[in-house]
């Protein structure tokens, strides 16, 4: 083996701590060392050229790059080695930045010694590295999109328009998510329905989209390029294939119940379509309230249905689909106002949340767009908006900013003022965060043109007294206590992950943050990928965001999926575990220790089998195997021993 060592200064990151000239001197003459050099920035183009030239000129058969973490640039340098004709798996990184110069900044002498040891250990490793070639995986060029709000719709349409089949699963009977409930959208005040419904109907009728509403992902297995999905289609008790959506059943149904879509501000029937523009425009029977199910008699809908679509015997069905990639766009919920004690625990009728205000303001909502307060239907003359309810609250809520509330509160206050010109909106705020195109101008217009009174301060209490909603607050700019006897209060409650998202994440084996939002692979450079290959995230499932940001992220996720679909095979690292079947006695210990489900037992031959695609090469099985039958490619036990010898 003819080994070359390349030491990077990383500017002063390494060079300012580790004595590189001394290392160059000490390394000279080390067994197998053919060539050693240093460079200020090894990852730069000229730095990479140094490596390429040396490989060719000195006929190197293995290289060690002493630089930053392999997580940073291993793939960069392996490509460099490959370009010079060396097998990329004969290129190893000695991490002398994160594991040496950074933590030992104050002890340069000992850092230099440690860097030397790390480099020697890497030389021992590369000495025994085999030449490997990547594992190839076939790709099913079909996508699965979970959740069909604006993010899910956008992602599904982008992939479908590119010519690939998309399976869309939505928990509710209709698509559109929360956006379907909104009245107008900031900063242009265009109607949410007007921009959403054309997209929704496109999703509903797209030849490449297979839409499952009223359905949930029941089970999932497989890996990137080859997921197997089981979808549970919940019983709707209506045969949607023959139903024509005439709505006669809803008209005649005698049982009323609270409308989920209207957030309890209006009633609907036990058999219902959530709203007139719903896609698909098909009804669902709510078995919890339907008289047929609760009392065992009724059946009015069955009698009136002109096509005989009612099917009380219908059961949940399970559908299997294959997918090469998955986009999770499961959206958000609002922090329940019933948890906010100081504002009345959700008991006071005229204390509502932002989504409820959207319904009151919606032309198709319970008041046909007139702002009338829920308790008595009167037009409120003074409305108090309270921002950051649960958000930015380390004591009783969530430490994060929910991002959209400053904007939608400004929108609510303006829309209210447009509809009730003699009314007075007040907004209690902590800071105004209006970063976005046209956003700051929008808030400016609220204060300057629409006379919205912004009060910088918190509200300590909200309660009802003599038909008025009393608000105790403070204006910290004038240092005055403020007491408003208003008619209605709108709480901008925090955005939280949609219920069940943590369970779904567990099912998909993707990680979440401590609040339940899905974790991206890298906060800046890989914002739409999960840490599991082949699973992407979009919209509020990842973090609170507004419509433009959700759409942007959805399109980015779709672009990533399309890149994955650009070839019918994928490559996977060959640095994985292999089993010597002669030595394996099929004890199964390795199956238990494998965190990636990459191991199975071949019962007939009684040997352990490695799934090359699922194996991440962590090495746990090699350590656990009692008979020494498992070998981790390029990290074998003998190799590790000689690396240790090089250090001590």
């Amino acid at each position: 083996m003819r080994i070359g060592v390349f030491i990077c200064h990383c500017g002063l990151n390494i060079g300012g701590v580790v004595d590189i000239p001394e290392i160059l001197q000490t390394l000279a003459g080390y067994d197998g060392l053919e060539y050693v050099t240093d460079y200020r920035y090894m990852c730069s183009d000229p730095g990479q050229q140094v490596i390429k030239d040396a490989i060719r000129d000195k006929g190197l058969t293995g290289v060690v790059i002493a630089a930053c973490s392999p997580a940073m640039h291993e793939s960069t340098f392996r490509r460099t080695a490959e370009a010079a004709g060396l097998n990329p798996f004969r290129c190893e990184i000695a991490n002398i930045r994160e594991q040496c110069s950074w933590p030992h900044r104050d002890e340069p002498r000992r850092a230099t010694q440690k860097a030397l040891e790390i480099i020697r250990a890497s030389m021992e490793k590369v000495r025994q590295n085999e030449e490997l070639s990547p594992v190839s995986i076939p790709v099913t060029r079909q996508a699965l999109v979970i959740g069909c709000g604006i993010a899910g719709m956008q992602a599904a349409l982008d992939i479908a328009d590119a010519g690939y089949k998309v399976t869309v699963v939505e928990r509710l009977p209709y698509i559109g998510g929360h956006m379907a409930q909104l009245s107008e959208t900031f900063p242009t005040l265009d109607c949410s329905q007007c921009i959403l419904t054309p997209k929704a109907s496109e999703v509903g009728s797209h030849p490449n989209i297979d839409l499952f509403t009223n359905s949930e992902v029941h089970a999932i297995s497989g890996y990137v390029g080859n997921f197997n999905v089981t979808i549970r289609k919940k019983a709707s008790y209506v045969n949607w294939d023959i139903c024509n959506g005439c709505g006669l059943c809803m008209e005649k149904c005698p049982e009323k119940t609270e409308s989920h879509f209207e957030l309890g501000l209006a009633t609907t029937k036990a058999i219902s379509i959530a709203f007139p523009q719903a896609v698909p425009n098909r009804p669902v029977i709510n078995a919890e309230v339907c008289r047929h199910f609760t009392k065992g008699k009724c059946g009015v809908c069955e009698k009136v249905c002109p096509v005989g679509a009612i099917d009380f015997e219908q059961e949940d069905t399970f559908i299997h689909r294959e997918a090469g990639a998955i986009i999770v766009a499961t959206g958000y919920d609002l922090h329940p106002k019933s948890k906010v004690g100081e504002y009345g625990y959700g008991v006071v009728k005229d204390v509502i949340d932002g989504l409820e205000f959207e319904r009151l303001n919606s032309a198709s909502g319970p008041t046909q767009g007139e702002i009338r307060r829920p308790s008595d239907g009167k037009i409120p003359k003074e409305v108090v908006f309270i921002q950051c309810v649960g958000s930015r609250d380390q004591e009783d809520g969530y430490p994060y900013c929910s991002k959209i509330c400053c904007m939608y509160t400004a929108k609510h206050a303006r829309l209210y003022k447009h509809k009730v010109p003699d009314g007075q909106p007040y907004v209690f705020y902590m800071d105004i965060r209006a970063g976005g195109k046209g956003y700051e101008e929008f808030v400016q217009r609220a204060t300057e043109e629409d006379g919205v009174l912004y009060l910088r301060g918190r509200v300590s209490r909200v309660f009802e007294e003599n038909g008025k909603i009393v608000v105790f607050g403070v204006d910290t700019l004038s240092n005055k206590k403020v007491e408003i006897h208003g008619d209605m209060v709108v709480l901008a409650t925090a955005i939280i992950p949609s219920h069940g998202q943590t369970d779904l994440a567990r099912l998909l084996k993707i990680s979440t943050d401590e609040w339940g939002f899905l974790s991206e692979a890298h906060p800046k450079l890989r914002p739409v990928e999960s840490l599991t290959r082949g699973i992407y995230i979009a919209g509020c499932a990842q973090a609170p965001k507004d419509i433009p940001d959700s759409v942007t992220q959805a399109s980015s996720a779709a672009a990533k999926v399309l890149a994955l679909f650009s070839s019918d095979t994928l490559s996977h690292t060959p640095e994985i575990a292999v089993v010597d079947e002669e030595l394996c006695r099929g004890c199964g210990v390795c199956i238990e220790v494998c965190a990636y489900d990459a191991r199975t037992l071949d019962i007939r031959r009684r040997v352990a089998v490695v799934n090359e695609v699922l194996c991440e090469g962590c090495g746990a099985c090699q350590v656990a195997c009692p008979s020494g039958a498992t070998y981790q490619r390029n990290m074998g036990l003998a190799q590790v021993m000689s690396m240790i010898d090089a250090v001590i």
């Binding site: 004690g341 100081e342 625990y345 209490r461 309660f463 009802e464 007294e465 003599n466 009393v470």
Partner: protein, 293 residues
């Protein structure tokens, strides 16, 4: 049930009736309150300056001596309860402050004592259901407003005996005595506290709001567990009393408890009460305390 008892200064000066009615009621309920030897002032207010440990010394000394009795420590006054409980919390959680305080008074204490309010004993140890079984004179649905103030409930993570936004303990207590608790929005608002000592009647307005709110809910009396709140709510009505307008008595919860238990006149002193409580009970025909005004 034997507990160490910390009466606090006010109960031996301006609020003797709070003390006597509590002791008599507890005796009747089989709860023995054994007064802590050589107790001293609780400190009156918990120090809010983070680097001021000196006011912790007095309550720390009380807590350390309570530890030696091996019993739980009971108080009645909301202020004493608040200061003792918060001090106890600090001495348990903050090692620096603990060392500082006990290097001064040389005791070995790190928050072992459990500090209880008498309401907690009534609720959690006796139970309101069995309390209800023990009363001899029911109040027959007398509408009464529970007033909590701040000190009994806040800060919730260190003190709170109940939900700070929607407490129930006093209401449940009143129900057990046969009263009808009045729901009104001001029951957890501040009464104005020590600002009453400032000239200009600053506290009169918050206290008056509380009383007015309780009255508009139909309350015939207010009960509380804080001597300062009781004073403020009572004296906010002095003008109304002079003018002969509608006023309602402000009472300690132990006073109504003693009446419900049918205890003798000797335990009820109504010392310092401006609006006389006696008339209400006289008109109801319960107790027979018409002589007391």
């Amino acid at each position: 049930m034997v507990y160490s008892y910390f009466p606090g200064c006010t109960l031996r000066a301006k609020a003797k009736g709070f003390d006597s009615s509590a002791l008599a009621s507890c005796k009747a309920l089989g709860v023995c309150l054994e007064e802590l030897e050589e107790w001293q002032c609780c400190g009156a207010t918990f120090p809010l300056q983070i680097d001021n440990s000196f006011p912790l010394v007095s309550p720390a000394r009380t807590l350390a001596s309570a530890k030696k009795t091996g019993r739980k420590l009971v108080t009645l006054c909301s202020a004493c309860y608040n200061v003792l409980k918060r001090t106890n919390h600090v001495l348990r959680e903050d090692i620096d402050k603990r060392e500082k305080v006990f290097s001064f008074i040389e005791e070995d204490y790190s928050g072992e004592v459990e500090v209880l309010h008498l309401l907690e004993i009534l609720r959690d140890e006796i139970g309101f259901r069995s309390l209800n079984a023990k009363i001899s004179s029911s109040f027959q649905g007398l509408p009464v407003a529970a007033y909590y103030g701040c000190l009994l409930l806040r800060p919730p993570e260190e003190v709170g005996i109940d939900d700070p936004e929607a407490p129930r303990v006093l209401e449940d207590f009143l129900l057990a005595l046969g009263c009808r608790p009045v729901d009104y929005p001001y029951k957890t608002e501040c009464c104005g506290s020590y600002v009453v000592l400032q000239p200009g009647g600053l506290t009169v307005s918050p206290s008056r709001l509380i009383v007015e709110s309780a009255k508009s809910g139909g309350a015939k009396a207010i009960v509380t567990s804080c001597p300062l709140c009781r004073f403020n709510l009572d004296y906010a009505q002095s003008g109304a009393l002079e003018r002969g307008e509608n006023t309602i008595p402000v009472m300690y919860f132990t006073e109504v408890l003693a009446i419900a238990l049918g205890l003798g006149e000797g335990v009820l002193q109504f010392d310092g009460h401006l609006v006389p409580p006696g008339l209400i009970f006289q008109s109801l025909g319960v107790g027979g305390y018409g002589g007391l005004t």
